[in-house]
Point group: C2
Chain length 306, copies 2
């Protein structure tokens, strides 16, 4: 990086918050992690952490990647809010407004997956791949699509987790756990869906259990749909479920089998090991992505994009 200017970054997860002061990977000045409790307490701790850096003029922009659903439409009255979340106490929380009000500096705000995707694009394994897709398969399933260094935002941030995919009930009679759609992708393949179906957490299911082929099938089906719709140049998959690394080769193999030569791209036909990959930044995609988001907003203040 030509500059060592510092920024604040918040990975605002539903389980824990990670707050960092950094100028990029390898230039981490300070970090704090704490459990996500009430909005008052949690955002209060974040404010307390950043306050000295703001007062001393060391940081003047903070980026936030938040659990959702979030409102990322700048024209909306609830822009910067966590909206109707099932997480108790957090519905309609003006995350951006509370931080900006307390710290008095600009706050850049986007969804957790969009921000993680941005981190991977700026400094991780998607660098130079435009467009790229970041997918998380964990407590929930969500995707962020990065084009030209920006996340895709249309009618709303699409989130991508609730795709309708084939579900063969002879092979997998599980009905799904999505409160909206029962057996959508998230309802069938998220961490909680695995635990509900199998009676134990995914982390405890042995690698040779036939269930993992079912899981790989759902992930591959969704990836095929993303490929046919978004045509990313790289797909990064993070999240707790993907900690089981043996899933990667199974998913890649099944994606290629399902596409069956329809997409005549060497990335898919010959280099799929480099096409569907784990995060390059490990568990820092989100916090470093928040730094990248802050950096972008800071640069835009001087050079607005039309």
């Amino acid at each position: 990086m030509p500059t060592k200017k510092l920024y604040g970054g918040i990975e605002a997860g539903g389980t824990k918050f990670v707050c960092v002061v950094a100028s990029g990977p390898g230039h981490l000045v300070d970090e704090i992690r704490f459990k996500t409790t009430t909005p008052e307490e949690t955002l209060g701790r974040a404010i307390q952490f950043f306050q000295p850096f703001v007062s001393s003029g060391q940081i003047n922009v903070i980026g936030v990647g938040s659990f959702g659903p979030v409102d990322v439409n700048p024209e909306s009255a609830t822009y910067g809010f966590i909206t109707a979340t099932p997480k108790p106490g957090w519905s309609n929380t003006n995350v951006m407004g509370i931080l900006r009000g307390a710290l008095g500096i600009p706050i850049a705000f986007d969804s957790d997956v969009n921000v993680a995707g941005l981190g991977e694009y700026m400094w991780g394994v998607s660098k130079g791949c435009d467009p790229s897709l970041y997918l998380t398969v964990g407590t929930g399933i969500g995707g962020g699509y990065i084009q030209d260094g920006r996340s895709l935002i249309g009618l709303l941030s699409p989130e991508m987790g609730h795709l309708r995919i084939p579900h063969d009930r002879h092979v997998d009679p599980f009905v799904g756990i999505c409160p909206f759609h029962d057996d959508c992708f998230e309802g069938l393949a998220s961490g909680p869906a695995i635990e509900k179906r199998m009676g134990i957490p995914g982390a405890m299911i042995p690698e040779n259990d036939p269930f993992w082929n079912i899981e790989a099938e759902y992930i591959a089906s969704a990836l095929v749909n993303y490929i046919l719709t978004l045509s990313p140049k790289r797909i990064v998959i993070g999240g707790g479920v993907m900690q089981r690394e043996f899933l990667f080769p199974r998913v890649r193999w099944r994606v290629r089998e399902l596409l069956n030569g329809y997409v005549g791209s060497k990335s898919l036909l010959e280099h799929i090991d480099d096409y569907i990959v784990p995060p390059g930044l490990g568990n820092q995609s989100g916090s470093l992505g928040a730094i990248a988001l802050a950096m972008q907003l800071d640069e835009e203040k001087d050079n607005p994009r039309i």
Copy 2:
């Protein structure tokens, strides 16, 4: 339109070609339609039609929206080609190169659905809706996603027709006709799939036949996936199958039912009649879109986009 400058446009369909000279809707100077036969004969007729307009200096750019698969990657060696098409004689046809070589002017080239989507965005029912999606459900199924007046091109033009969607074989035992994927969206719901399943063309199946609910289900499933992935602000559906206008209310109803309140947007919850709509330009989306594409290339020559 501030200018009356004329452009050439080609809707290069697998069944017929439409060539126009126009400056926009309502300003059509000349038009010719002919059957798609061999590349030599068909492109020859197009060249013959445009030659006098080029020689006299009336047009200096032509836009082409082509049947596919097409190569729309400017960095590719086969940019501007129709690639591995099942249409006899057309595989690896350098459409852009042949036209440019014969006429000596710049040719703008994109897929038929991308160009139709651009036409609807510029002058049709998607005007002011950014991003927007154009879908055709006819001989094939394909989609074009328009953002900021440009079609989405990533690893390749995604085309979108071959999505994996739920297929309940108890309700619809038809195995599908896609040579790559059997029962993908196109394999289940295109015009030829309808005719193969029912023994008669879709145009002859009565409105009250229960099959149409199956067709509406597939279209709605795919739309849900596009909405959750691309988040368009309007969806335009053209193509022969959608000539059966009673499909529109059924598809809208089923999209809303399948989403089940997950997407909290008024466009979907309250104004779905304006969200999923037929083309505003009727059967001219493609030819006018080709004019718009030519116009863009002409403007870029003077003001290149970075």
